[in-house]
Each structure stands twice: as C-alpha cells, then as structure tokens.
Amino acid sequence: METAATRNKKPNAKPAKLGRDVQARLGQQLRAMYDDVVNQGVPDRFNELINRLEGDEKKDRQ
C-alpha cells in the first residue's frame, strides 16, 4: 500500500537538471560575492608582512 511515507522515501530520485539560466544566475551571485572581497585589494597587513620578511632576509644576508 502506498502511503505518504513510502512515496517520499526516494532520497536518490535524481533532481531535475538545472536550467542554464538558473546556473548562470547562481554563477553571477557567486562571483559577485567573491569579487566583493577581491575588489578590496591587498590589505596593508599583507604588504607589511612581505616587507618585513624581505627586511629579515636582507639582514640575514649581511
């Protein structure tokens, strides 16, 4: 006998394939979120870190 429980018990039912338009919009949202951070550029702490490491290196060589 089919009940709601047995009907719903299909975890492996293949999900409908996403339309190209949906995929494209998901991609746009993803890149917008990512690029928000990328567009912040290089925070000072990282420039300072590299400069400091270079300074150490020069000292080591002397």
Binding site: R25, L30, R31, A32, M33, Y34, V37
Partner: protein
Amino acid sequence: MPMDESVRKAVLSAVPSLRAFAISLCGNVDRADDLVQETLLRALANIDSFQPGTNMSAWLFTILRNHFRSEYRKRRREVEDSDGHHAESLKSQPEQYGHVEFREFREALAQLPSDQREALILVGASGFSYEEAAGICGCAVGTIKSRVNRARTRLAELLNVNSAEDFGPDETTRAVLARGGE
C-alpha cells in the same frame, strides 16, 4: 629565503583571491586573514618547492586549503557569522528585488557540505579549471565535476529557485536601477 621581484609580485597579486577563498572556507574575515597570513609564511618558507613556470596562484590555494583542513576545521565553522562580521566587511549591496537576496545566497552557500562549497568556489568564482581545482583539492577531476554539480543543485533547492526570474535583477538591470537612483 630568496624573494625576487617576480615572486613578490605573484604572491601579492594572489592575496585578494586567497582572501575571498579563505572567507568562503571559514566564514569569518579575521580568521580568514590569519589563514592567508599563515599561508604566505608557509609558502615563502617553502618557496624552493615551488616549480617555476607552474601556477603560483594554484600552489598558494593548495597550501591554504591544506592548512585550513589540518588546523581550522577542528574549530567548527560558525554559520551564525554569515550575517555577522562577514556581512559588515562587504560593501553595501545595491538593493535587490527578486526573492533571492545576497544575504540569503551567502547563508545557502554556508549550508553546503564543505567539499562541495570549495569545489564550487574554485571553479565558479576563483576561475580555476576543473583540472586545477582537482589538483588543489587532491582528488580526481570527475569528483570535482560531481561536487560542483551537486553544489549547484543544492543551492537552487535551498534558495528555491526554478527560473532566473526568481533572482533579483541582473547586473545590467541593477546598474540601470542604481543610475536611476542618483
């Protein structure tokens, strides 16, 4: 530790993208910046193991990901931060009118299993090929493809989108709307 100008440039130019990836992994800006800093220190200490001519960015992403997996994952990812510090660090978004808001999108992304999320980010946002992403994650190309597909399907389910109209206006429309508001 020799650091010639080309290495310095390549490392610094990878920082913005490394940060974006790190934030997507740990969901917290401060922790992500620490992760990037530790990645740079490790990378420069082991610069001899970088093969000149190969992709510096992919090499740095690999170090960052491995370091995150070994250290940071022990501390649970704080999903509640998706509307906390991360949100504050982002520039204000133009208002959106569809039912998928920027914040909803971030929250849905945070709910994905981490292996699916990282695959989707690497391929869909960082711009790596499936092959490069497989190299970074240390798995087969087919595995990356399947993770990316599952990630997209799950995102669409979480966001309850069936068509592009369920989203807010696209970039072009938003730009026009933004200009109209000036």
